[in-house]
Amino acid sequence: MIAEFMASWSLFHSTYLAGWAIALLLALVGVPVVARDQIFVGAAVAQASMLGIALGLWVGVAPMLATCDWCQSESVRGGLGGVFAVAAALACARGGRTGARETPEAVTGWVFLTAGSLAVLVLAHSPHGLEEVHRLLSSTIIGASHVDVAVFAAAATFTAALVAWRRSTLLLLIMDPDMAAASGVHVRAWTLVTNIWLGVVVALSVRVSGMIYAFACLVLPALVAKSLCREVGQMFVIAPLVSVLCAMLAFVLAHHLDFPPGQLTTALLGAVLAVAWSGRLRRT
């Protein structure tokens, strides 16, 4: 099975490497999301990113913009996806601030549902529009380029370095923001930066790998780590490890069984989480 997989390496190595780099990156970013119980924020950000990409596709085929070459470029879709994802991450975070009129759950729900429906409506009458929405939803990472590999590898390295450098500050922000503020940490600045980074990496990942794979890598490995670890700090090691190992195994199996790798990775992570949960139940 492995020899068979390796034989496909020359053809699909960019896809594999991009997929694993995304698994590593999102698992790291997903630890604070899961630790703060903001799982639904991850889904809303991914959905908002899809809306941005859908708008980018609509701009590319709109008759009034037919003469604009730049409007049909990949960078417009990626850029709009990023802008919408960052805006969603900031809006969801704002909902929880002191003096905010709504709960974070209400804002997150609004973002998720509105973005999800608008993404379909925007492309409903465009040629191949709904197919594109389906592609983004169904997670196909085949077609990732060497540029994608470089981008995700760089983003993962940057995130890992930041976590290693400011681990204690991140932990305190996750666990006790009031204490972080009293300790001289600029909580608002950190929250802003981490939310923007969440929006950026989710948008980049959704554009390349689709929503299911991106959301799965964001949330499931961190949930597995939460079940396995005794300390939050350990989650930053275990979550990426689980994510990358599952993605590697799933890609090999997907190639052998001719299954879509994104969905198989998600299913495998889901199964690992079920095992971790049952193991924890047995321990308690």
Partner: protein, 255 residues
């Protein structure tokens, strides 16, 4: 642990750590406190008292550097300027109960902002846990601790900073009488044995009359502050609380 081995950044006894002169504090255009004047010196044990919404926590937030004065000056001793030498114990810690954490990880979070080298973490952790009576529990899950032990873990998280000033916001809320007495006895020991300056926000007059060296009564946007025996008298308390309050200082009680 002895006071000598605590390696705290405790300032010389009598040094003015916090000096408020005509300080006004509030939120937006709303002023909660007008013209607060008080001085907190090293080695004192302060209780901030008063009805709800009178600005006790607001003043505490200003001392912690979480808000600026609308008017007047609030000066901290240079040893407190970076906030590394201030230990803060919040009223409660809203930790996500599904989050895995040990006593060790929880207490070491107190070192954020102090610039302590990771190699020195163990040397800071053990004495802090020992001091609060949680020695040997560092590997235990935080969630396995009782309410009183969690409160002690919160205090250990503040002590691990080697503070010159320990600030506590209603530290006995939710504790039973035995745990409450234990926490206050412990704070009093920190004050008398280690010379640590302690600032406590509380509603409990009984505790204040028993443990405070100094008190501040918050009422109607003003603060009456000074040594306990001059501030905590029946006349002042009756005016602040709007109901007759009789003190029995000999028994350390209030009626």
């Amino acid at each position: 642990m002895t006071s000598a081995s605590r390696q705290s950044t405790t300032a010389a006894r009598g040094t003015v750590l916090v000096a408020a002169q005509g300080v006004a504090l509030g939120y937006g255009s709303h002023t909660v406190l007008h013209a607060v004047d008080l001085q907190i010196r090293a080695g004192e044990f302060w209780f901030l008292l008063g009805p709800n919404g009178e600005g006790k926590t607001t003043f505490l937030r200003a001392v912690l550097g979480l808000m600026s004065a609308q008017a007047g000056t609030l000066r901290l001793d240079p040893s407190l300027a970076s906030r590394a030498a201030i230990g803060f114990v919040p009223q409660r810690c809203d930790l996500n109960p599904t989050l895995p954490t040990t006593v060790r990880e929880f207490v070491l979070l107190g070192l954020v902002g102090t610039g302590t080298d990771r190699a020195d973490h163990a040397a800071r952790l053990a004495p802090a846990l020992d001091r609060v009576g949680l020695a040997g529990m560092q590997a235990r899950s935080y969630w396995a601790l009782s309410g009183g032990q969690r409160q002690r873990a919160l205090i250990a998280r503040a002590l691990v900073r080697h503070p010159a000033l320990l600030v506590l916001d209603e530290p006995t809320t939710g504790l039973d009488l035995a745990a409450e007495a234990s926490v206050l006895e412990f704070l009093a020991a920190l004050n008398t044995d280690d010379g640590l300056t302690v600032l406590v926000v509380t509603h409990d007059l009984h505790l204040a009359t028993r443990y405070a060296t100094h008190a501040a009564l918050f009422h109607g946007g003003t603060v009456l502050a000074g040594p306990r025996h001059t501030v905590l008298c029946s006349a002042n308390l009756t005016r602040v609380y709007g109901a007759p309050v009789d003190l029995h200082p000999g028994r350390g009680g209030v009626a």
